[in-house]
């Protein structure tokens, strides 16, 4: 079995050593450095999640990925996620097939919603239309990926009649995933449209998603499709020791979740809930390389997944802390997970 390992960021606004926020521009330049360093550290994938907030100033991740592409050779680069419902599938395809050209075939996309909703009012979409927007746009995106002229009609964008969409890819479709957060109907949709499955697990026991992974493979069979990979995306932070990782991550996690809890419906974390989530049964990968590696290996096995993407960083952490996290993840966690799974 071949396993791959990624790092995702939402462009979490960095802090300086005194906790003062860096500018959005400096944070973005730091993300470029982090992406380039991820390749040097031995990471297989670097993903950027679309966000439009003061603390995640990252609405144009594809531009940032193009800068990373220019200074790297091997690492795959993609969205994590692209909020497809409030974007135009034709433009998303064009941006990522351009990235694919720049990077020599290293582009990927993960399509979804994340748990973020700020792009809907920003671009004039109604959240109540979410289902129809995503269904139609994901269907169109699947057509665009095939290459060749596209004919499509729906209610959420202008129709396409035998439309050639450029740039063409050099060697077929680039990898495309649908990110789901636990809705089994979304799992079935990914299989029906032929996307790979990204399980976003940001709270609770990862083990409960094992059934989703099985559902995905069975649904692929039902729709007459070959098996496709499953990836797991979860937040975390790696430092030299468990204690240091938790001490760095906890206040940042508490503050950001407390800030977004009212709008997303998350519970405000307590030290007790944080201990549970960072423990063996929870969804956060916070600790020493050994602790994080063991948890990743266990959950990849349980979930029948072949890729793990760690969403690193949190608003307020310093660029230096993130670089250490990337170094430990690439140089220690990944080889250790491979060893545990072999």
């Amino acid at each position: 079995m071949t396993y791959t390992f990624g790092l995702d960021t939402f462009g979490d606004r960095n802090g300086d050593a005194d906790g003062k926020p860096l500018s959005h521009a400096q944070t973005i330049r730091n993300v470029v450095q982090e992406g380039v360093f991820a390749e040097q550290a031995g990471v297989d994938f670097f993903g950027i999640g679309e966000h439009h907030t003061e603390y995640f100033p990252m609405p144009a991740g594809d531009v940032v990925l193009a800068a990373v592409a220019a200074s790297t050779k091997r690492i795959h680069l993609g969205s994590a996620v692209t909020v497809l419902s409030s974007d135009d599938p034709v433009r998303v395809f064009q941006r990522y097939s351009t990235l694919n050209a720049i990077s020599g075939g290293r582009a990927e996309v993960i399509l979804g919603r994340g748990s973020s909703v700020e792009s809907f009012p920003l671009f004039g979409y109604d959240l109540a239309d979410y289902e129809q927007l995503f269904e139609e746009k994901a269907t169109l995106f699947a057509e665009l990926l095939k290459g060749g002229p596209v004919t499509w009609e729906g209610k959420t964008r202008a129709p396409l009649l035998d439309q050639d969409v450029v740039p063409h890819t050099e060697s077929g479709p680039f990898p495309a995933w649908i990110g789901v957060g636990g809705n089994p109907q979304s799992v079935v949709r990914a299989a029906r449209l032929g996307f790979s499955l990204a399980l976003a697990i940001i709270g609770g026991s990862p083990g409960r998603f094992a059934a989703h992974s099985q559902l995905f493979q069975r649904a692929l069979e039902k729709y007459g499709r070959p098996p496709l990979p499953v990836l797991v995306h979860s937040p975390g932070h790696v430092a030299a020791t468990d204690q240091q990782a938790k001490a760095e991550f906890w206040p940042r996690w508490r503050d950001i979740i407390a800030l977004i809890a009212p709008e997303r419906g998350f519970a405000v974390p307590t030290e007790e809930s944080f201990d549970w989530e960072t423990g063996p049964r929870g969804a956060l990968y916070v600790g020493s390389p050994e602790t994080v590696a063991r948890k990743i290996a266990t959950n990849l096995r349980t979930l029948g997944a072949t890729r793990f993407d760690l969403k690193y960083g949190m608003p307020g952490l310093t660029h230096e802390q993130l670089m250490t996290c990337i170094e430990l993840y690439g140089q220690q966690v990944i080889p250790r997970v491979r060893e545990l799974l072999s």
């Binding site: 959240l127 239309d129 089994p184 109907q185 649904a219 709008e263 419906g265």
Partner: protein
């Protein structure tokens, strides 16, 4: 006293929440049917793998045979639903009105969402429950009666018998039921309320609810 035949449940909705509640109820020994607005064939695979033991059915059939119906559909879909489907049933409203996440719905802008649900379901007995613990925590935190780390879950209804029936369901699936006086009082269970999204033991739950009631007064 002789053990009562467990009530039959119909869970309407197979999204994030419905399957979780269905699994908890199955685990507690309830017969469970699950339905969406469409053909049960569409959710047969989901039921087999994610909710083993439940019966996928047409909504109308699932409801007809059920003692308790659990609504876990998006509220905007509820607005399109024919209230007659639920006539004569005890209906657990596990839905939430959450404009920041699901968009603004005019009919729900004013007052408690379950009171508005109840006004639309004139022929049903509405109970607000199972809406305030996150779907990703609902199973992890369930514990048998008497467990040291058992948590509480609220039940609010205007009808005492319906409230008692749903409180038994809550108890059996793994939470200490805390019964609130009426649907109006159930507003404390809503998004923005003192217990929404937190998973508290009974004493803390009751204290949070009491303190909130004082602040309203």
């Amino acid at each position: 006293m002789q053990e009562q035949e467990p009530s039959r449940l119909a869970v309407l909705g197979a999204g994030h929440v419905g399957p979780v509640i269905a699994r908890l109820a199955l685990g507690a020994g309830y017969p469970v049917a699950i339905a969406t607005s469409g053909d049960p064939e569409d959710i047969a695979l989901i039921t087999e793998l994610v909710i083993p033991g439940a019966q996928p059915r047409w909504a109308v059939d699932a409801v007809a045979d059920a003692d308790i119906v659990v609504l876990t559909i998006p509220l905007h879909r509820f607005l399109d639903m024919n209230p007659a489907l639920l006539t004569g049933k005890v209906v657990v409203d596990a839905m939430n009105y959450w404009p920041a996440s699901d968009g603004v719905l005019k009919p729900f802008e004013d007052g408690g969402s379950s009171e508005i649900v109840a006004r639309r379901l004139t022929g049903s007995t509405v109970v607000k429950a199972l809406n305030h613990i996150g779907y990703h925590e609902l199973e992890d935190r369930a514990r048998p009666a008497g467990a040291r780390d058992r948590r509480a879950a609220g039940v609010a209804a205007d009808d005492t018998a319906a409230s008692a029936a749903v409180a038994r369901l809550i108890d059996r699936v793994g939470y200490d039921p805390v019964r609130l006086a009426n649907l109006r009082a159930g507003r404390v269970l809503q998004p923005g309320g003192p217990v929404f999204g937190t998973v508290l033991a009974r004493p803390e739950f009751e204290r949070a609810v009491r303190e909130d009631a004082r602040s309203l007064a």
